[in-house]
């Protein structure tokens, strides 16, 4: 299997500038085309272990990230995006090209992958048990997710939980974990060996950096996981570590609220989510100490739903 790391950098650049790099992420093939040189370096660093499909193969999502033509490119370089000809976002400064690529990869899945129940949630697995972490921005979800990854959990996704309607299993979509602002330093300090992208300042989400997904998680990207727990995390400065049960019917409604496509799936969405909630223990989790949080999650991974 060809990986990004096996492609010499000039060849990677040529594919990105030409007909596109066919990058496989979990169940999806993304055709990425760009003339932004820094993106080639970013992809080489963060996607080194990902499979590359042969040119001309099947593609799920076409992503074009281009520097707009005209005078502006000399004054204030930008990067613009279109996906299958649609341009859903405003152009951004070229320094934000890499975060833009990550957002676009998420956007394509959230808009198009309706073969799955898509939940805005991190999902990780240990001892064969997947733990789903749905949470709004600011809850500390990504920090917790990155810490669990650093602690040896398998990363299925930090952003998007894909539940298969046919069997209720979670399909992995391991990609770089997005870290914002203070979380970047927290993860660097806790896991000095973690590979992080350069920080990009001034994005709409503040300063952002990405943690490279573990090679072992990428290697198991075709292996679905059985959901065992749904945990709604919340970081609170000074809070004691506390895991508490949530009534299942309420957990159902909260997960539905955190889904990208629950209403669009209709009855199938209801049945898929009901099966998921049936299979899982449902909890809220408050924490401030990352070490205690990791220990509590390790216990959870040993407990059934």
């Amino acid at each position: 299997m060809l990986t990004v790391a096996a492609l010499p950098l000039p060849e990677l650049g040529a594919r990105l500038r030409g007909d596109g790099l066919l990058l496989r992420t979990g169940p999806f093939v993304n055709c990425v085309r760009t003339d932004v040189a820094s993106l080639a370096a970013g992809i080489a660093a963060m996607y080194a272990d990902y499979p590359v499909e042969a040119p001309g193969g099947f593609v799920d999502f076409h992503l074009n990230l281009r520097r707009p033509r005209g005078l502006r490119q000399w004054l204030r370089p930008q990067v613009a995006f279109d996906q299958d000809g649609l341009a859903p976002f405003q152009p951004l400064p070229v320094a934000q090209a890499y975060p833009m690529l990550e957002w676009l990869l998420n956007w394509c899945v959230s808009q198009r992958a309706h073969g799955y129940l898509l939940i805005h949630a991190a999902v990780l697995e240990r001892h064969g048990r997947a733990v789903i972490l749905p949470a709004p921005p600011g809850s500390g979800k990504s920090t917790l997710c990155a810490a669990l990854v650093g602690h040896g959990w398998r990363l299925l996704s930090d952003e998007m939980t894909l539940v298969r309607p046919a069997d209720g299993l979670v399909a992995p979509l391991p990609r770089p974990v997005s870290l914002k602002n203070a979380s970047i330093g927290v993860i660097r300090a806790a896991f000095p060996d973690a590979v992080l992208s350069p920080s990009v300042e001034g994005t709409s989400k503040g300063t952002i950096a990405y943690l490279r997904a573990p090679r072992a998680s990428i290697a198991r990207a075709a292996e679905p996981a059985s959901p065992a727990h749904i945990v709604f995390p919340r970081y609170e400065a000074g809070a004691a570590t506390r895991l508490e049960p949530v009534p299942k019917a309420r957990a159902f409604m909260q997960v539905a609220d955190n889904s990208f496509n629950y209403p669009a799936l209709g009855r199938q969405g209801f049945d898929t989510l009901a099966r998921l909630v049936d299979a899982c223990g449902c909890h809220t989790f408050r924490y401030s100490d990352l070490g205690e949080a990791l220990a509590r999650f390790d216990r959870l991974a040993r407990e059934g739903a």
Partner: protein
């Protein structure tokens, strides 16, 4: 008299005294107390008025008399707002 809105299949799941129900007509999902689910379930054999429902559900809901009838009337009005039941 009250009946289920035609087309509602009452696809629902109940856990620990609470339930979620998929509304086939509106495409929405509702969080309901299990007692509301009992009323909907009883109406499968309907239509009934509140007094008849109270008589049928007295044992299940562990209540009786006028208090139960008015409770069921309130519930029916709330369920009608969700397009799950309608007067007939």
């Amino acid at each position: 008299m009250w009946r289920l809105v035609p087309g509602q299949s009452l696809n629902c799941r109940e856990w620990d005294g609470e339930a979620v129900l998929y509304n086939d007509v509106a495409g929405s999902t509702h969080l309901l107390e299990a007692a509301a689910l009992d009323v909907l379930d009883a109406l499968r054999a309907g239509p009934f008025d509140a007094a008849t429902l109270a008589a049928r559900l007295a044992a299940q809901l562990d209540a009786e008399g006028g208090e139960l009838v008015s409770l069921i009337e309130e519930m029916l009005v709330a369920l009608a707002r969700l397009d799950l039941v309608e007067p007939c």
